[in-house]
């Protein structure tokens, strides 16, 4: 991936304190290029969700600034929301429509597109996540993995450049997890920028290019996935076992 001159996301000295006085995140600076696959890890309450919510303007910074594709989020929230699609941790609570089709159409309809364009986008988003067959289903009948893919489709239909996923593997069983992961990897190969948070680095091992470790609201490590992974112990994240294997193989091999 050749980094383009202008980073798609640029966060500078971002801090956020909640109204009840608790510090969400503190002095975060970060550049993400087009086409990267970034994983953010950290303990419960380390500020991952808070950071993500600044990327599309759901939260506004106390100090600092977030730029998406060169334009500050606060200057044009709608543009940021179209460019950066945010998939929440809890797939159930994101469902808006009465059928799978209606749900995916919700975003494009809000963008005031023509019905034909809405239809095109919905169809292509549904086929991107493999839910074409279920278009007329009621969303709450879907399984866990299907619901998560529906949530992704709802965001994809807005045709964002950047896909931000907050713990996309939570509550899924193994096969559901595989479904969602392979979806994400495909989207990355199709050129989308991917940012996701997870407690279980095993799952993204081998796909992600970059790893960011957060602790108490700050970034404490940021770099190549294969490098940073050896430091995860200090933020209370579990070392992936594929990586433990490597270490052992290394020992045995030499």
């Amino acid at each position: 991936m050749i980094p383009s001159s202008k980073p798609i996301i640029e966060v500078s000295h971002l801090s956020h304190r909640f109204s009840d006085g608790s510090q969400g995140i503190y002095d975060i600076s970060l550049k993400i290029e087009k086409g990267e696959f970034v994983v953010v890890a950290g303990h419960n309450g380390s500020g991952k969700t808070t950071l993500f919510r600044h990327l599309n303007g759901l939260l506004t910074p106390n100090t600092g600034d977030v730029k998406v594709d060169g334009v500050s989020v606060s200057a044009d929230v709608l543009r940021a929301r179209q460019l950066v699609g945010l998939v929440f941790q809890d797939a159930d609570s994101q469902i808006v429509g009465e059928t799978v089709y209606d749900d995916v159409a919700f975003g494009p309809e809000n963008l005031c597109l023509t019905p034909a364009e809405v239809n095109r986008r919905v169809t292509s988003a549904l086929s991107a996540v493999g839910l074409e067959q279920l278009a007329d289903q009621r969303p709450h009948r879907l399984s866990g993995g299907e619901k998560r893919r529906l949530a992704i489709a709802g965001i994809l239909a807005m045709e964002p450049q950047v896909l931000v996923l907050d713990e996309p593997f939570a509550n899924l069983d193994y096969s559901g997890m595989i479904q969602v992961l392979s979806q994400i990897v495909q989207l990355h190969q199709a050129g989308k920028t991917i940012i996701l948070s997870t407690h279980d680095l095993d799952k993204t091992m081998g796909h992600a290019s970059r790893l960011i470790l957060m602790k108490n609201g700050s970034i404490i490590k940021d770099g190549l996935f294969e490098k940073v992974i050896h430091d995860v112990g200090c933020v209370g994240v579990k070392m992936p076992c594929t990586c433990q294997l490597e270490t052992i193989y290394g020992e045995n091999g030499e």
């Binding site: 599309n56 699609g85 929440f88 808006v96 429509g97 919700f106 809000n110 963008l111 005031c112 709450h140």
Partner: protein, 240 residues
């Protein structure tokens, strides 16, 4: 024409409204005509009669009460000690008419529910709100579908809350106030949090109350024909 769910919802809604008004004002002859119309509609819209009977069963007791209240003259305080209860003929006829009206309304309601999808109704509501500047049609329509969306969530979460409390032997408590409060608070907390997250999700999918989406509604000639027919029928009924 009416038979397919393909009739334009707006027209269907207008027809229903007209018919309902007429039903409430019709006398016996009018009701006969209306009943015939219902039978004709029944030929076009095939739905299991069982469904109708199920609704009527719920209504049945109510109808009986209405009828009896009209038909019977209970005279506790009347001077002559003979008959405490007497049948009032005029009242019986009135009671019958009221019951007849309610039955026709129920029938129309079922017809409407069976032939309309929730999203179709929502779109029509939005369209009807358009001409009224004070009425935010999009908001009305969105709130209606949000409400429909929350219903299964509430049922599910209520079920979970009851189960969790049963695990902790709530059935030893007999005080209904205690149980109501202890049940409602966790349930409402959870549903409010769900609502909160839904609001976030809608916001990040660019929802705004102002921008209005195009409504996918198309009227056909048959729709107009039906509407004109029904209007004519109603005007006739009111005049006669």
């Amino acid at each position: 024409m009416l038979s397919s769910g393909k009739m334009d919802v707006r027209f269907k809604m207008a027809c229903m409204a007209l018919l309902s008004i007429v039903v409430l004002r019709a006398d016996a002859t009018g009701l006969i005509f209306l009943s015939i119309l219902c039978l004709i509609l029944r030929i076009y819209v095939k739905f299991p009669i069982i469904e109708f009977i199920r609704h009527l069963r719920y209504l049945g007791f109510l109808l009986l009460i209405v009828f009896l209240a009209r038909a019977l003259n209970v005279s506790f305080f009347s001077g002559d000690a003979g008959t405490l209860i007497s049948i009032d003929q005029q009242g019986a006829v009135d009671g019958l008419l009221i019951c007849w009206r309610l039955i026709i309304l129920t029938f129309l309601g079922i017809l409407w529910m069976i032939t309309s999808s929730p999203s179709g109704i929502r779109t029509a509501v939005e369209w009807f709100c358009r001409p009224f500047p004070g009425l935010p049609g999009k908001q009305v329509a969105t709130m209606m579908s949000l409400m429909v969306r929350f219903l299964p969530v509430i049922v599910e979460q209520a079920r979970e809350t009851i189960a969790a409390q049963q695990c902790r032997c709530i059935q030893n408590r007999k005080n209904p106030l205690y149980r109501t409060v202890k049940f409602s608070i966790p349930l409402l907390c959870r549903t409010l949090k769900t609502a909160d997250r839904l609001a976030d999700a809608m916001e990040s999918r660019c929802y705004s109350p102002e921008n209005s989406r195009p409504l996918a509604l198309k009227s056909k000639r048959s729709d107009w024909l039906v509407l004109i027919g029904i209007t004519g029928f109603c005007v006739l009924m009111i005049c006669v």
